[in-house]
């Protein structure tokens, strides 16, 4: 890579806004400067594409009983002894093609991860903006709840919310509600970090000249928050969102592994691992290995991206 002409340094200049840095190609340059980050980005992209186009890539629809035959069950992967050319990664006890099941499972895992990050982020950002901008007792109540929730691990909160929701929805069909219940449970267990960060930044930003000016011009608080303050807190929020995406995927996988997440009829990677674990001792290693590998690689890639983003947006580390 050629070195561009010396640019404004971070030693003397104030930290620029996230948007400003994007425009400067600063982030792009720092992204490309680390091979590991580029690899993580590529892997994430490939997995995302695989999830989006799963119905096109997958040789069979693993959840269509008409295409699954018990006679094919527990076939080893194509490259292993006794493998069948039709099944790249073998089949499970239902005769489902693992490769197809993983593609569909990846799709479910990513969907739940992304939706719960969006849900938790929306709640956290909104509450953080309100708490930071209004202050007073509203702020006190929101942050108090955040403090108490923060003392409990997110996985426990998600488990509880999931349990309560399932109890309340006991009579409706689980398959229809499991997805939504998971998104809400996981989303709600992650809002605190956004709220704290956004609140802190909002409290700093609201006293800046440009916000005061907007206030004087007579813009409504909601407009000031969304148009003027929000863009300035997007950097840290993006870092949290990326790291939380990894956490949300792990949480979903864990809940599904524990049997309180998605049912076997619409399995995520976690559900597949739960099923596969039963075959650990009987020698059908492929049923658990490939979903596990996919999950680990996905989470690692997203975490690497989050790590890079955090360092790249931290002016002190440059």
């Amino acid at each position: 890579m050629s070195k561009p002409a010396v640019e404004p340094s971070t030693i003397e200049s104030a930290p620029r806004s996230f948007i400003g840095r994007l425009a400067d190609n600063d982030l792009v340059a720092s992204f490309l400067s680390s091979k590991i980050t580029v690899a993580a980005g590529l892997i994430t992209l490939i997995l995302l594409l695989a999830a989006v186009f799963a119905p096109l890539i997958a040789p069979t629809n693993p959840f269509n009983p008409a295409t699954n035959f018990l006679i094919d069950s527990l076939t080893p992967p194509r490259f292993a002894a006794g493998g069948d050319p039709r099944f790249l990664l073998g089949t499970d006890d239902q005769g489902r093609d693992m490769w197809s099941a993983i593609l569909y499972g990846l799709r479910v895992s990513l969907l739940i991860g992304i939706f719960s990050v969006l849900f938790g982020g929306a709640i956290g950002i909104t509450l953080g903006l309100i708490a930071g901008y209004t202050g007073g007792w509203i702020d006190a109540i929101i942050m108090r709840i955040a403090d108490v929730q923060l003392t409990f691990p997110a996985i426990l909160i998600a488990l509880l919310l999931d349990g309560v929701a399932q109890a309340l929805l006991k009579n409706s069909n689980r398959e229809g509600t499991a997805f939504g219940v998971l998104v809400v449970s996981i989303g709600l267990s992650f809002w605190v970090q956004y709220a704290r960060t956004v609140r802190g930044s909002t409290m700093v930003e609201k006293n800046r000249d440009y916000v005061q000016a907007a206030r004087l011009v007579g813009l409504s608080p909601a407009r000031i928050l969304v148009r003027h303050i929000l863009p300035n807190v997007m950097g840290p929020v993006l870092v949290i969102a990326t790291i939380n995406l990894a956490l949300a995927i792990i949480t979903e996988a864990t809940l599904s592994f524990l049997g309180v997440g998605l049912p076997p009829t619409q399995p995520s990677l976690g559900t597949l691992i739960r099923i596969g674990q039963n075959f650990l001792f009987s020698g059908e290693w492929w049923i658990v290995t490939f979903p596990s590998l996919t999950l680990a690689i996905l989470v690692l890639a997203v975490n690497l991206l989050g790590d890079w983003l955090r360092d790249a947006l931290n002016p002190r580390l440059k």
Binding site: P153, G163, A167, T254, F257, V260, L280, L295, A296
Partner: protein
């Protein structure tokens, strides 16, 4: 000092009451307790009698206070599913969970703190970079995958360690059982403890590293260097102590969450602890057990917070002064 402790205790009590009320709301309004306890064919009169007996017709305030008072006496009612007192069921499973959690905590601290200090002091060394990379893998690996991996390696492939259960246990006193005194108990403990410790260890390592790097940038470190103190004195007399003070809080909470995380480990290794019980209760909507577990975790965190606060006062002279100032 005493005033400080009392103030802390009151705050903790507030948190416990808040969580207790959440537990009560869960108990009272998530599903109907009576429907849970009786069969479908139970006549209405019998249901009404039970309703009366449980006090479900009284004002909500009365019910809530009774629930809290009972909880304070560790009386959480009867499990819907097992028809046993919840406190007895939890008591029977407490030793298994606590032993696992304590061993895992010690493991994660013993490994995490030195690794973090090393990676901060030798941040540019190949080994530190390797640790940092591995720690990211450690954070990315869900606990249950670690467990499955260990089982596959040491139980399925090598056959060295048992993959489930707690091994032989020995009773101590009237209600504690320990697996730490038998060979099979110890062997059974190894993999669950490592699984549970690994994630916390990587977190502690990364935290100690980040905090220490922060401290190493402080003015007093620079001034200590400017006075010609040895690197050893700068690192271990000045930097380490100041690193561990803020780390204490987070580590305290991490250790608390080990108990919660043991839900996963206990499931993977069929470890007969409270986590397994809690998971079953979620699957069966056994609200009394869920409520009791929630309160138990809250209680644990309150205790840990209290201990951490007191440790702070002991370690940090600034706080000590503030505490003395406030109480005297």
């Amino acid at each position: 000092m005493i005033a400080f402790i009392i103030r802390r205790l009151l705050a903790s009590l507030g948190v416990l009451i808040a969580v207790g009320l959440i537990a009560f709301v869960m108990f009272r309004y998530v599903g109907d307790p009576v429907n849970q306890m009786v069969g479908i064919e139970t006549p209405a009169a019998e249901r009404e009698a039970l309703r009366q007996q449980l006090g479900l017709n009284e004002p909500v305030i009365v019910q809530a206070s009774r629930f809290l008072l009972n909880a304070a006496r560790f009386d959480f009612g009867i499990s819907y599913q097992f028809r046993q007192p919840v406190s007895v069921m939890i008591g029977a499973r407490l030793p298994a969970t606590l032993e696992l959690a304590i061993v895992a905590s010690i493991l994660s601290l013993l490994a995490g703190v030195p690794l973090g200090v090393y990676s901060a002091l030798r941040r540019d060394s190949a080994l530190a970079k390797l640790f940092q990379a591995l720690s990211l893998v450690g954070i990315s690996l869900p606990t249950f995958l670690t467990g499955i991996l260990l089982i596959y390696l040491f139980s399925v492939t090598l056959g060295w360690l048992p993959s489930f259960g707690r091994g032989a246990v020995v009773p101590i006193g009237s209600w504690w059982t320990t697996g730490l005194l038998t060979m099979s108990g110890l062997k059974s403990l190894i993999m669950p403890a490592i699984t549970l410790a690994l994630f916390q260890m990587t977190l502690i390592m990364r935290l100690v590293r980040a905090e220490m790097l922060e401290v190493l940038r402080a003015d007093y470190i620079r001034f200590a260097r400017a006075r010609g103190l040895s690197e050893r004195a700068v690192h271990f007399h000045h930097a380490l102590k100041n690193t561990l003070v803020p780390v204490m809080t987070v580590v305290g909470l991490q250790l608390g969450s080990i108990v919660a995380f043991s839900i996963i480990t206990e499931t993977v290794f069929a470890w007969p602890g409270m986590g397994q019980l809690f998971l079953q209760s979620i699957q069966n909507v056994d609200i009394p057990i869920m409520a009791a577990y929630l309160l138990f975790i809250a209680f644990l965190f309150v205790i840990i917070n209290l201990v951490v606060d007191l440790l702070y006062v002991i370690v940090d002279p600034r706080l000590r002064a503030a505490v003395h100032g406030a109480s005297g």
